[in-house]
Amino acid sequence: MSDAPDPSPQQSPRTGTGASLFRRAEAIYFDVAGMAAGDREDAIVRLCAGDKALESEVRSLVSAAGKVGAFLDAPALGKGVEELTRESDANDSLLGQRVGQFTITARIASGGMGTVYKAQRSDNQFAQVVAIKVVKRGLDSEEVLRRFADEKQTLASLDNPAIARLIDAGATSDGRPYFAMEYVEGKPIDAYCDEHRLSVRERLKLFMQVCHAVHAAHQALVIHRDIKPSNVLVTSSGQVKLLDFGIAKWLKADVRNVTAETDRRLTPEYASPEQVEGAAITTSSDVYSLGVVLYELLTGARPYYFGPRTTEEVKRLVCLQVPPVPSEAVTIKATRIRSATPSQSGGSSAANTDRPLPLDAVRTRGVSSTRLRGQLRGDIDNIIMMALRKEPQRRYVSAEQLAADVQRYLDGLPVQARRDTLGYRISKFVRRHAVGVIATAAIIAILSVATVTLYRQREQIRVQRDALSVANAQLRETKHFLIDTITAADIGNSGPETTLGEALSAARDAMEEHPISDEATRAATQQAIGRSMLALGMTDEAQPLLDAAQRYFGDQPATSESRLEADADSAQLLFFKGENAPALAAMQDVLARERVRNAGVSTPLEASLLNDIGAVHKALGDFDAALATHREALAVKSKVYPDDQLPAAYSYHNMGDVFLRQQKYPDAITSFTRAVEIRAKLLRPTHPLVLASRASLGLALVRDGQAATAIEHLELAAQHYQAAFGAKHPGNAAAWTSLGQAYRELARYDEAIKAFETTMKWQDENLATDAPQKIATRANIAIAKLKRGDTGADATLRAALDELKQAKGNFAGIIRMSEEALRQ
């Protein structure tokens, strides 16, 4: 630690004998921390076994624990800045001064643009109280003045009981613009609803008032652009008042003119995707913000929570991520929503009588949140999600339409909002955002595996109709769990660099710490995570998960689908571990049982088993059987997936692998080209599958002497491989090695050496010190250097060649190349 001057690095008087005392005190501290005070003292004496220094250390820590409070809990930065801003506000204060015909009596709040004061009309016999907004000193640029002028006109043109009236406007004595508006004594709508413990229906009715006011403003061609609970007050009589048309702008002239400029003053929690992206803002943006407000009023949560509030993070969430539907987002806070039917007593009188004691809230939490979920599920989910759609044109046409749909719900009529289909969302997502955000891909991958698994279970249980609801609950619980844990893994903060593997490990850890209570759901989730890990080659980590799933599903009949799935996973795991013969037997057994089950109607499981069996045959060196099996798999896939080419691409790729092993390079090139064509057409360019096929195609081309054609594929593969498959995937080394060989073939020796050195770096980090692959890489580098004309390289190459001849493994190719190079 270079920066911290350390006056006493070894010992301090208070810590006695240093690190060992520290460690023992820590262990005992944790033993006794949870004990009742009475038992604790005895325990300390017993555990310290007569060591008086230790005793006193533990006692002092236990006593400190009682006083620690929130010590260090708030991070060192953040609050201080707020405080500083407040201080500068205080200096800026106009308290007691006259502004126009008003005398300022108190400061109410500071916003992005100005400070709001409470003021009184001085020249009036009856005291008229107003709110005065004054632009902050230092911000009075022309832009703000222009905005301010807009605000003044905007407000003057609006005459609606639900919109705070403009009373006066002008400039302070030091030239800062101000305006006086109707002073509203009220609470932000969210606080109001919670304090009065309004029910869902009551909240919806109040919300409709907000929609009507916003619609009225829209009809006057005014967009609010900053709708959020703190701008929506509710008076004690239950009247809604919209405040702060601070960033509203005239719509009259030309919509496209409205704003392309960036507005950093917007509140990201309520901002629509188009606002966040700086695109054109329309009335639809207000509909979106209304959706966020309703979401929050009914669930206690917001659709998005931002980690670091950076531009990228805000954009990523608001523009890319579909938030959980409200019924799945219900929080503890939502227990403040009264679950009983609305009483007629009115909001204000319910205020003090109905508030639960904290203990009460805890006790009833589970029950009421379950009931609340039930209330929101379906129509309310659909209404809010429709308002929150990413594309403005797919939201409600107007705030009035949103209110009308809420009214239909309240009247028990069918609502217009429909569920956005998952397929639509995903295809849209992929189309619009080809950006290779692995983290997001991870969520989708995991969710789709989990969803498919559970969907199948549900289909099975359909016969027993009464059990259907159970499966539904499982599906929800799994989905919920995965979203929670993966978001909690803080992909937001680690950014798109988080690999799928990391996300999966995080999900696994989270499941260990908070086990899913329902056994079937747990097994299905373990299976989903395990299978995804397996797909990434994380064999060791996948095993315990897949074993657990197999144990659970093992009780079911031998031809039950869940058990077949679990057995297929375990067989695949055997293969990945290199136990080829047992893997083949297991797979053939599962295939036979699956064929009994499906009675001749081909299934995805059958196709995937055939694919795996083909791969095992190849691994066992039975190339003809491998090719025959892959052809069989292709036939099955054409029946199971008539409209989807992607599954077939696996078979083409695997056949290419077999041809490669047989050294039938033209056939390999044909097969891999098919795979690349399909995958590159349907997937994004950096998709792992695209890269894998390109890497293999490149290798086949190099072997066939077509290095120039190979370069294109290999450069793409090598550069993106790590991002796609993670740093530890052996394919990294393979891709760079192939690329190096291609460069070398083309006499681009410097680039070749660089590529091989990247391989070497990977091998140093990931392989054992004496791994023979490293010798091969050394040889590759030496060959390139020799060809470049480095005469010193031939000694290195000779040494590597000798070692290679002794090494275990198939190094015939590199040995041949080394010998050739030495001969020349």
Binding site: D6, F71, P75, A76, V81, L139, R309, R684, A727
Partner: protein
């Protein structure tokens, strides 16, 4: 800044347009070396990160709308984007960056507190410097940053990991989970270390005063 990130494929190893100052390749190199266990790289990293964070804090303060929402995590993230750029650096490499950033913030705050104390003792009026921007959660004036710094140095000697947990949590504002990733330990270990370190440090500071 909004509206500038391109929506097409982002090549993994290149600076993005949203990044006003070009990333410093040496930082990426230092991070890679630090990841390989090179202590000297860690030392070389520190002053660069330190300067960048001070510079950023200054910018943050000039823009009031940003200052209001400034958080240590955002500050550190922004510094990272500026120095390293949005490339595909693995999280483990970023962990070293967070470490350096946490230490930089610790240094900035401690130096500032020392300066304050010195001025107080000397009776000179404390000029409001930009470092005011970085002061802080607990009553800026009364929180004993100098004492915390010394206690952290003692904690480092006794149990380095706990001291690093405190740096990352308190100074860089990382969550338990992020800290766990940065240190390569489990979140429950971090939570336990954090709990104990808070108690221990609180005791140290109470004894010192």
């Amino acid at each position: 800044m909004l509206g500038m990130v391109t929506r097409t494929e982002v090549p993994p190893v290149s600076s993005s347009q949203s990044n006003p100052s070009s990333p410093k390749p040496e930082v990426t190199m230092l991070l890679a070396r630090a990841q390989e266990g090179d202590r000297q790289a860690t030392d070389e990293l520190f002053p660069i990160v330190y300067d960048e964070l001070r510079d950023l804090a200054e910018r943050f303060m000039r823009d009031e709308s940003k200052a209001k929402t400034m958080q240590a995590t955002a500050l550190v993230h922004e510094a990272y984007m500026r120095l390293v750029g949005p490339n595909q650096t693995p999280w483990e490499n970023r962990a070293h960056f967070f470490g350096a950033a946490a230490r930089a913030i610790r240094r900035i705050l401690t130096d500032h507190a020392r300066e304050r104390n010195r001025l107080k003792r000397g009776g000179g009026a404390a000029a409001v410097t930009l470092d005011e921007a970085l002061v802080v959660t607990q009553d800026a004036a009364s929180f004993d940053f100098v004492g915390l710094d010394a206690a952290l140095a003692r904690l480092t000697a006794l149990d380095e990991q706990k001291a690093r947990v405190v740096e990352l949590r308190f100074f860089a504002g990382l969550t338990v989970e992020q800290t766990a990733l940065a240190l390569g330990v489990s979140p429950s270990t971090v939570a336990r270390d954090w709990q104990f370190a808070r108690v221990w440090l609180h005791r140290e500071l109470a004894n010192a005063s």
